[in-house]
Structure formats: structure tokens, C-alpha cells
Symmetry: C3
């Protein structure tokens, strides 16, 4: 049965990075959207845009297209975004799916959910770059896309765009805990993802905040969107199908 | 070399659920039994049967068939059962194999080994159902058989039978620790099994109670018996072969 | 692009045990050395050789062959050895790769990095064997090579040689933390390796001492060198390629 999926990209990415996966799902008959968030568009002023702008851009997208019964999928930083969207548009959603993504409590920012040394590094980098958060190549190569060869690591790094620091530092406002929502909740964990250290992991540290949730795991790094899109598309389907 | 295996089913299941796997092992030449425990038979009064009845039913089965040199395999709740059987019939066993199964110390019940909130929910459900423990479908679908499609999740749920609460609440009596037994010990861990939360996991929290043991892992949920019987049969063989 | 790899074997092993993997990598065009450490050679007096001798034997090997731009790979105990080599020959190395290997801090011994009960058992065994550390077969079969059949478990056990206890009890001397070195660092984790218990694991407990590092994981036991050399060769390549 064809379904509707909305795929929300990670920090430094755009919706285009989800197109390979979207096309795999479209070939199976599904309707798939992968909009680019406010804050990651070419024209966006990185010093001004915050988390609320990013969330609102998805709320607007869904309302303008009058989408319903949606599987809403978020990767990494987009966990913050889809959590905010779910809080406002729960009636339009069927299920939310987190892919190695942040699961906030009310009043938390993304930087509250990473190791304190990471948060400090983010602040220093943004401070030195007029509010834009950049990712050093060696961090990308070793901890984001450790399963790729160097050519893919380089070509994908070249696709990245600066992330507005406020989108990761702003606290989220949620009316109620995600674990109490009436929609389905899934968590996809890429097993060799060390963008967060395994001593301070995505799963189960953040996933279990969802309460009753469906776990799907696959081999791969944080960036299986690039290193293994076929396998990630399958995982998204298994997480979202009902 | 053909061997003898006795496969003991989980709570809510019967021996029939192991038949697919038993047949795979039989085709390789082995002798395989999968009896249904007291407490899970059609005629059983769910309000009256306890853990001791379940254990005794396997002891009786083994003695009546005069089985020796047995590989005794238990899934989930059956970890309680095979632990009790091993304590009494050690001389008839070659190895005990736990599949995401409880490993008790003397004086513990299954409910002592799950998160306290699960134990409280079990008690409340049994209280409302005349001593029968039922499993809500959403819990089954999301945390027991998260790797299946919805059709398989539904058809397998329809096979389940009510579990006598006393079988999970009764304390076990063991003469000596399992880690001190002279028979081999193996633990099979299905890696996406979140019937126990991964923050409170099967392995290594319970497996390491076996002392020196052999670990075998496979991808899949708590119910790979249904979602991937071929792969689980292979894992059982690797765990039990010597 | 062809590269140079030096593969350093584990305790109880010799360089010959890496030959299958070396040949796979050689067929891809690379130059691969797998010397046998001092302490594991036939003529070595197990009561006299210590960690420093083992480290020096690799330093000498590299200098005598004037190797540069090396990927230096160490398995298990060899993590102690390659850490010492990297501390002295950093300029000759491109990357160090640990395969379920010890990552010491300055002043630590291997026995400081295993569970205290293991360390006590090592000392007692060596004491009873004139300074030679032996590995009981059941420990080998259940926790080192749990993914093999019994025939492979036996034939590989017969290849082992006594390990000089001082190589595992001697403290290492490092000029500076491995995490501060300018060369690349990778950690390969075989996921069913329970030679260290999963409650006291190789990864992330020891791997994260490397600071920024690349993680590669594969299914298999501590001895995938024997049970799955093709897959381990691939993992070594992914860990070492750039």
C-alpha cells in the first residue's frame, strides 16, 4: 500500500542528499518529499536562523501541501526538527522515525545531548565563523563516514553547507513528552556511527526516550545516506511501514 | 555427527512454534524434540500453574523418553525452565543454550530480572485476567517482532496463548550456580531484541551469569523463531554443536 | 594505490598466522610484512623476555628494512606492541590499526586492562609454568574462537605457543598519549569477541583512548584471523586504506 514519507536531512546537508533514497522508495510506489530546511538553503543568513525557523519550515511545507497520514523521518539534527513538528502537527502524522537522531525533552537543545567537549567545540567554531558551524574534514572522514573510501568521503564533504549555530544551540519547546504521543515511533540505528561516541551513544541513550518504539538497525556509519543508500532505504521502510 | 536437541519455547508460545526450526535441524540428521510446557497447553488452568510445574514437565519428558547427552535449548522465559531442569538432570545434559533467555540465580523469579516497571505491568495485567498474563499487541509488534511486516506480526500474535502469571512470578530453587555446572553453556543473542530494553539488556547482563560461556549473535528481534527461522536454526547449531 | 602494511600477531601466535590475510592483501598489490615478535619465536626463553623486547623487535624490523609510510596493524596483545613502536617511530608510520587490541596509557601493562580476575589467573598460570602463560583449551574454544567448529578450534589451538608472562605484565613507557599523535588511528572490533567480557569490552572502553579514530566492525570472534580471514582482510583494508 503506497504511503507518504517526508524525509528531513541532517545538519550541514540539504534535501537533495535524500534524493537517492527517495527515488528507491518512489519506485516502490510511495510518495516521498525531502524538503531543505530553513537554515540550510543557499540564501539563508547563517547568523540569524534558529531551531524554530527550521521547525516552522517543515510545518509550513506540510500544511501548504496539505499532507496527512505522514511518515515523518529525521536524520541526526533533524530529530530536533521532527520532534517539534510532531508536537504541533500530531494529527497529520502516522509515525515518526529517527535515524541516529536527537530525541529532546522539553527545554533541551541539541548541544545538551552531545558530550560537553563536543558542545564546547561547536560554540568555539561558530564564534570564529560569524555564527556558522563548520565540520572539520578529519572529523567527517573518521567519525561520520568511516565506512566510505576516501574519494566518497571527499566528494560528500564538498556537498556540505554551513550550519547556523542557533539551530543546534536553541532550546526546543514541546507541549508534551514524545513518549506520550499517540503516533508510532521508530528508531533506526546505524551500528558503526561514532559521530557520537559509543560510550555516549545514540541508542539506547536517546532512543529509549521515545517510550514504546520500534528498533531497526543496520551496519554502517552516520552517513549511510551516502555510503549505503539502498540498505538505508530498506531500513526506513522497515521502520515506517506500519 | 547426529545429536539430540530439546527446544523449549517462550512464554505465550507452544512447542509447535519451534517446528520449523526443528525440521531444519532434523534434515541435518539430528533428533529434535519441542514439547509444550505445562502451563501453555490448551487444557491448562492459567490461574493454578506455576514455574515448578513447567520445570517438572520437561524433567518428566526427558526421563520418560530416557534422553541423554542432550543439548537443551530455551528461549526467553524458558531460560528459567532449562535452568531448573539442568539443576536436576545435569547428568543427562551435554550443554544448555539460552536464546535471549533469563538466567536466574537461586531464589529469583523472571519478574526479578525485568525492569521494575515491566514487572508491575505484568502483575496488574494478571490481576485483571484471573492470573493469566496477556501481551498487548502493540508491545508485541514494536518490541518482540520489530523485524517482521505487519501481516506476520498479526498472524503470529494470533498463535499466542495466555501465560500463567505464577510461572513468571515464582522464585526458582537451584542447588548451585549455573556457572559452576560441568556442562557446556551457550548464549544466543538476537541483536535487535528490545523485548528487554537495551539499557537493561539480555546480553551481557544475564548471559555473563553463566560464567564461561559461548556467545553466538545474529541480527533479528526476540521472535526470529518466526521472522528468520533459518538463521536462528543456524545459530542454535553453532551454539550447540560441541 | 599500493601501500605498505606491517601486521603484528597476538599473544600465543606467530606471524605465520597472518599469512592468509597477508596474501589476500598482497594479491591486491600491497606490500605486507608479518614478522614474529621476540618472545614468540621457537628459540625464545619464555622466562626472560619482556614487553620491551617485543617492541624492540618490531622497531628493529622496521629500521632494518627501512620501511616508511607504514600502516602498522596489531591484534590483541599487539596493541601494546604497536603503541610502543608508534611512540618511537611515529615519523615512519602513516596509521596505526588496532584489532580488538589493547590501547595502553603510559605506565600500564596489559594485565592492567583486563578484568582483575583474569589478571590473577594469568599470574597463577605463569607462576606454575616457569614464567610461561598458557591458555586453557576451553577458554580458547568458548571465548576466543566461539565462531568456529570444533575441528578448527582444535587445529588452531595446536598452533599456539607459550607466551612469556613478562610481555603481558610489564608496564609500557610512552612519551605521549596515543590520542595526541599526528598519525591516523583506527580500531577494528570483532563483534562477538568475548575474550574480554562484553561488560568490560574492547570497544568503546579501550578504543576511545585513541581520541579521534576510525571504527570498523565485523561479525566474528577474537580469532577471525582463523575463522574468517577474508572478512578480516577486508576490515583491515577499510581501516588502513587512507
Amino acid at each position: 500500500m503506497p504511503v507518504t514519507l517526508v524525509l528531513i536531512h541532517a545538519a550541514w546537508h540539504t534535501g537533495k542528499d535524500f534524493e537517492t533514497i527517495a527515488n528507491i522508495l518512489r519506485k516502490a510506489g510511495h510518495t516521498v518529499y525531502c524538503p531543505t530546511l530553513r537554515g540550510n538553503r543557499e540564501e539563508d543568513d547563517r547568523s540569524k536562523i534558529g531551531l524554530e525557523d527550521a521547525i516552522s519550515s517543515v510545518v509550513d511545507f506540510i500544511e501548504e501541501n496539505d499532507l496527512t497520514d505522514i511518515r515523518l523521518v529525521g536524520h541526526s539534527y533533524a530529530g530536533m526538527v521532527i520532534s517539534g513538528v510532531a508536537d504541533r502537527l500530531e494529527r497529520r502524522l502516522r509515525r515518526i522515525v529517527y535515524i541516529n537522531a536527537f530525541v529532546p525533552l522539553n527545554g533541551e537543545s541539541l548541544t545538551d545531548l552531545v558530550p560537553p567537549c563536543h558542545a564546547a567545540a561547536f560554540a568555539a567554531i561558530a564564534d570564529a565563523n560569524n555564527g556558522a558551524l563548520l565540520l572539520p574534514f578529519q572529523v567527517w572522514r573518521e567519525t561520520f563516514i568511516n565506512d566510505a573510501d576516501i574519494a566518497l568521503a571527499r566528494s560528500t564533504y564538498d556537498r556540505l553547507n554551513p550550519q547556523p549555530y542557533r539551530t543546534v544551540a536553541d532550546k526546543i519547546s514541546l507541549q508534551r513528552p514524545l513518549s506520550e504521543m499517540s503516533i508510532g515511533r521508530s528508531y533506526i540505528n546505524c551500528q558503526q556511527d561514532i559521530s557520537l561516541p559509543h560510550s555516549y551513544p545514540w541508542h539506547p541513550r536517546l532512543s529509549e526516550r521515545l517510550g514504546l518504539f520500534r528498533l531497526v538497525e543496520l551496519p554502517g556509519s552516520h552517513e549511510t545516506i551516502f555510503s549505503n543508500p539502498v540498505r538505508l532505504a530498506q531500513a526506513i521502510w522497515e521502520a515506517a511501514r506500519d
